[in-house]
Symmetry: C2
Subunit: 156 residues, 2 copies
DNA sequence: CTTATGGCCGAATAAAATTCGGCGGAAATC
DNA sequence: GATTTCCGCCGAATTTTATTCGGCCATAAG
C-alpha cells in the first residue's frame, strides 16, 4: 500500500499540526474547499495513519513533572540490540521516547519524572529489572529552551 | 501567581492530553459535570497556560522526514552557556528540542530532517554560523520504538 | 447578618460537524 | 471514441456540539 499525499493534504497537515482544534469550516476556508471535502480528506489521513492522533500539550511544571533526562543504555547482547529490552522500556510511562541508536550504546531514552528522587527510583527499580541492560549514562536537563514535536512538512 | 489544580482539573488534563478532540459533552460526562462548567475549566487552563496548545501527531515517514538525530553541542563561552546560541538553535525549524544540560556539553538538541544529506547541510550551513558553537557530537537514530510527549499526571 | 465571590447548572442560542444525493472529470474498458 | 466506473468534490439538510447567560448555592469576607 503506497501513500501519496498531494499538495492539499500537505497543506491540511501543516495547519492541523499547529492547531489540532481548528474548526473544519476554517480549515476548509484556508485550503479553499468545501467543508465536507476537507473532512473526507482528514478522515482518510486518519485511516492511513498519516495522522497518528490529536494531543494536548501540557506544561510539565504545572503538573509537577520537573525532571527531564536522557539516558543512554548499553545492553549485554552487544551487536543486535535487544528488542525485549526495548519493549520493556517502552512500557514505562515515565519513558517518553525509546530510540535505537548508532554507536556503542544501544538505546537512547527520554524520561520525565517528578524529581530527581523519582528518577533515581526509576533507574534502580525499573531499569535494573531489565536483564539485558548492562550500563546507563544519564544526561540531566537543566532547562528546556524549546520543545515541540512539529515536523517540517514539504510544500509539495 | 500560584497555580493550583484540583482533582477534576487533573482528570480533564489526563483525558485531553490523550485525545485533544474529544467533544466537550463527552469530556463533561467523564468527569461528571455540566458541559458549561467543564468548558469554563478548560478555558482557564488555557489562560493559565497549563494547556500550551493542541497538536496533531503526524507520521514523519509519511511526509518524508526520515532522519532523526540528537546533537550534543559544546560552546566556547564555557561555563555560562550562551543564551544567544540557544535562541539561534531554537529558531531552526528542523530543531525540535533545545535543552540546557548538565555536564561538559552545553546543549542537547533533537533534530529531524528529510535525510542524512539535509542533516549534513544543517550542520554545515546552520550550526557553523552560530559563533559560540565550538564542537558537536551527533547521535543518529536508527529506529524509534516509542515517541510520545504525554506526561504523567498525578491523580491528586 | 449581609454582602461579595467563585463555581456550577441547565436551558437557549449559535455554530459546527456530519450526512448524503448528485455532479463532473479522469481513467479504464470495450 | 463511446461507455462505464470510480473518485473526489460540492452544497444543502440534519444532527450534534460549542457557547452564552441568568440564576443558584456555598464559601468566605466584611
Amino acid at each position: 500500500m503506497e501513500i501519496t499525499l498531494d499538495k492539499i493534504d500537505l497543506q491540511i497537515l501543516n495547519i492541523i499540526q499547529a492547531n489540532a482544534k481548528i474548526s473544519n469550516a476554517d480549515l476548509a476556508k484556508e485550503v479553499k474547499m468545501a467543508p465536507s471535502a476537507v473532512l473526507e480528506r482528514v478522515r482518510k489521513l486518519e485511516q492511513k495513519e498519516v495522522i497518528k492522533g490529536y494531543t494536548t500539550q501540557i506544561d510539565p511544571l504545572a503538573v509537577k513533572q520537573t525532571m527531564l533526562a536522557f539516558i543512554f543504555i548499553r545492553t549485554s547482547v552487544g551487536f543486535a540490540c535487544s528488542t525485549n529490552a526495548a519493549t520493556l522500556l517502552a512500557a514505562l510511562p515515565e519513558v517518553q521516547e525509546v530510540h535505537h541508536i548508532a554507536g556503542e550504546d544501544c538505546f537512547l531514552i527520554k524520561v520525565r519524572t517528578a524529581d530527581s528522587a523519582s528518577l533515581m527510583r526509576l533507574m534502580r527499580d525499573e531499569l535494573r529489572k531489565i536483564p539485558e541492560v548492562s550500563s546507563t549514562k544519564t544526561t540531566i536537563v537543566l532547562e528546556t529552551v524549546k520543545e515541540q514535536q512539529q515536523i517540517i512538512i514539504p510544500e509539495k
